[in-house]
Amino acid sequence: MASDQQLSTKHVLGIKYLTAADVELILDTALQFKEVINRPIKKVPSLRDTTVANLFFENSTRTRISFELAEKRLSADTVNFSAASSSVKKGETLLDTVNNILAMKVDMVVMRHPAPGAHHFLASKIDASIVNAGDGTHEHPTQALLDAYSMRDALGGDLRGKKICIFGDITHSRVALSNVFCLQKLGAKVRVCGPPTLIPKHMRSLGVEVSYNVDESLAWCDVANVLRIQLERQDTKFIPSLREYNRHFGITRERVDRLDKPVVIMHPGPINRGVEIDTAVADSEHSIILEQVENGVAVRMAVLYLLAARRKEG
């Protein structure tokens, strides 16, 4: 790796806006942070002069904890904000909320927001670096980066030519879109598979294969990234019932046992066991679901570190 590599952007708003070199740089840097978080003392002083605000306007467990751990392991000062217990409830606008927090000299903002594009709006208004921790059904870039990191880890490095299938609720998933952009930048072949009602028509225009046949797709892929059915985002009926979904589209033990090769099983969580994936598959030897969580901290450390380095330069 060259010593002068920088991200091409001061924000991480989505994978779509990163170059392939950015993605490679983040994943290569994360490799070194993975070593750091496995040391007896899992902390480096790189961001000791940086303050990061974690603004979560939507519920989150692992992403918020993962970002907070990443920030603390980089020695950054952190402030946490959750919409449920804030002045947002009193009618304050997003820009006012963020400007008030930035007035307290915050350098970077990690934000999850239900409105797609909220991060772009903020990026045009404020000076701090912004990391998108999920915007509605649009993008979740750090999840895609940690997924790609985990796939590279599981498949021994290069993803070029590797076959990755994303199963499940593609329509309501921000992880799916970010995964597609990320994997394509790394040269992988990407397919989505699920019920026709949960796969948006524009998927083919992104150069993604579309399949409605789970068995055939499982046999095709090297990695199965299984997504959750997002009932909270579905205002109409997209599937007859969860039981029927499991029968026709779930990644079940029987389906996996019928395969003549091992398939790496991934899931970004939270898992609906018995719906999109069976417990026996989620906990099987081919599952790297918990590795994804561990890798998430290393990847987020890399993102924050590289953004901070760019801020210093700018």
């Binding site: 790796m1 060259a2 010593s3 002068d4 590599q5 920088q6 740089l25 290569d28 840097t29 070194q32 070593e35 750091v36 040391r39 007896p40 003392i41 902390k43 480096v44 002083p45 790189s46 002069d49 570190y305 590289l306 901070a308 380095a309 210093k312 330069e313």
Partner: protein
């Protein structure tokens, strides 16, 4: 025009490596409680060379690691230092061990300070010593001194000393670059 001057040629380079190893054996005996840690990237190349020589001299049983100090640099906020980290590979604890920190050039002392901070994340060593191939003894910014040194170079501030390796430059030698 910048000029290059070889200040330590290939033959003397090999002799210096041998002398450093003999000095280490004199101080550390059988290396029973010793670890050798190279600082990325020049220090690792030197440490590898010392390791080869120590093996020839019959010293093989000690911990060996590579330490990257990128995340510990005090110039991170000025973005002048290398940004992209290299590999750290220390699969042992340095708790109560005698550590020989190896670097190619000692100049301001800031790299060594960062390396000492980084090393503390792997335990509390009983002792840390510093071995360098080149000691640019003037212009030190911090109170840091090498225990073992290959050569001592008195150079001007705008001069640059580089340790070159057969693997990367085709020849083991030390050059000094300066203005005419």
């Amino acid at each position: 025009m910048p000029v290059l001057r070889v200040i330590h040629d290939c033959d003397r380079f090999a002799l210096t490596i041998e002398r450093l190893c003999r000095h280490l054996i004199e101080e550390h005996g059988d290396f029973a409680n010793t670890c050798l840690v190279g600082v990325q990237t020049g220090g690792v190349q030197l440490a590898e060379r010392l390791r080869d020589k120590l093996t020839q001299m019959g010293v093989t049983d000690y911990d060996y690691g590579k330490l990257d100090i990128t995340f510990y640099r005090d110039d991170f906020r000025t973005a002048k230092g290398p940004l992209t980290p290299q590999q750290t590979e220390i699969d042992f604890l340095v708790e109560n061990k005698r550590v020989i920190l190896v670097d190619d050039v000692l100049y301001s002392g800031r790299t060594t300070l960062s390396a000492l901070t980084a090393l503390n994340h792997f335990g509390r060593p009983a002792q840390v010593e510093l071995l360098v191939m080149v000691d640019r003894r003037f212009r030190r910014s911090l109170p840091i001194k090498a225990n073992y040194r290959g050569i001592t170079v008195d150079s001007l501030h705008d001069e640059y000393v580089e340790v070159q390796w057969a693997e990367t430059h085709g020849k083991d030698q030390i050059i000094l670059t300066g203005s005419e």
